[in-house]
Symmetry: C2
Amino acid sequence: MANAGGGEEVRNKQVIFRDYVTGFPKESDMYVTTSTINLRAPEGSNSVLVKNLYLSCDPVMRVRMARVSVGGFSSFTPGSPLTGLGVAKVLDSGHPDFKPGDLVWGVTGWEEYSLLSGIESLRKIQHTDVPLSYYIGLLAAAGAVGQLVGQFAKLLGCYVVGSAGSKEKVDLLKNKLGFDDAFNYKEENDLDAALKRYFPEGIDIYFENVGGKTLDAVLINMRVHGRIAVCGMISQYNLDETEGVKNLTCLIYKRIHMQGFTVRDYYHLYPKFLETVMPYIREGKVVYVEDKAEGLESAPTALVGLFSGRNVGKQVVVVARE
Amino acid sequence: MANAGGGEEVRNKQVIFRDYVTGFPKESDMYVTTSTINLRAPEGSNSVLVKNLYLSCDPVMRVRMARVSVGGFSSFTPGSPLTGLGVAKVLDSGHPDFKPGDLVWGVTGWEEYSLLSGIESLRKIQHTDVPLSYYIGLLAAAGAVGQLVGQFAKLLGCYVVGSAGSKEKVDLLKNKLGFDDAFNYKEENDLDAALKRYFPEGIDIYFENVGGKTLDAVLINMRVHGRIAVCGMISQYNLDETEGVKNLTCLIYKRIHMQGFTVRDYYHLYPKFLETVMPYIREGKVVYVEDKAEGLESAPTALVGLFSGRNVGKQVVVVARE
């Protein structure tokens, strides 16, 4: 096909956000459709036309599915494709920093091809000797961070115990990722007792990405002057009313430091991060587990699966391999 | 009277802890009785015999009334006098650091005279040009801290709004202590709305000594990179089950720093604190409001009153004036 602008018009499969979500997201909150797209960046614009290769499924996308989003995350637009982190290949570019053939990562659409006009988040991929999908996971410091936190903590000399939701994941943490120990929180009736079993002398550092009952059990097992890095609370995102955390007085008795953070405050450290982590990857000192869903059609299932813990490792959607 | 040891035996009024407490403490959890005491420190001991002048009523004493105390605070002993911070005068001493006539502050008994054997906490009072009772309040960094935090914040250039439980207290904060504003939280049906009224652009720093619903309302009104110093949660100490705090995901979105602390970690800074605060007191730049209950008999009522907010300012019991 050709159109007036001279570009090639092709079919473009898309994952469309149907409507705002309350409670757990369902596959039917999205649908897959096919439109067409011109593979040229419009004349005179500084847009970039990309072919999407890998898309990232992230818990924070649930926040963007709400009518009223929070924390500076914008809500998705009903009737439009979802957006999120992706790895893509530039097909055409009106922007001087990008040229056809460049591999990039950043915010893109849940579709085969995207015309990106806001490209502040787009970065060129320099090192292609690691899997490209790592750029929306390990190398984007986005998604499935627990496995990495544990490995980095081991490299720093910590005693590391992981909490995961299945036997398979527990085995993975212990046998493949080198955690000192791990347990299946779904099989523990008494999380407090479980933590006392693994940390008889208490917990110095807790990396929080669960919230709710887990945080409550951790608080009573923290040591004096313990530290809690608060990165996420996935157990709370789908609840109409979040669970109350009851043991916050522990913050006083134990003089605990709790610090919330998001990756956005630390992008200036990205070069240093790459410099640190690339050798670890190449030397096999850090292992990164991915769960790859094949094809854009599988994207809604993959995203929804995050919230039941169906994925093992970072959930990625493979749109195309090159 | 005289006894074998040669010392004078006198009547000693005492406030006895009756039994462990659940829920709100009541006056009947304590009783006043009279025993006798020898006014000499036993020969060969390094104990100190003191006449108590002022006793401090502190929220943390509720924690010590529980059978199972927490956070390193020991439970009171049923049948024995309560203990807490006090100002006292040394009558006799087996310890080389103290001699009769010395004025001291530290942990003492809720009674007219105490024989103190554990004297690690005892400090000599050097400056007597400020009210002696300040040594168990302002100068012990103990009790009624909100009024001081607000004044120190003002001295550092902050915009300060206080939350208090009566019109009288609100007036005090605004008119006597120099807060920029203050409100009566008992008259606000919607704490969130109240905070938005006083902080339309959000809160940078919250000094937490309330907990529960107040903390929840504050969390949604904190600014990005805000800080919460967690000193106490008085609203929670008497509850069988503490209120759940529901808005902790704000820690992430707003990258909030929450830090629990107790004065015990900072005793090494006490000389510097005195050096800073003494001139403020002498120049009238810091005002300290006390609520003085007269006589040991009034002590149970004074202590219990803390938890209904009956006191205005630091609650002190005057046992004797010299």
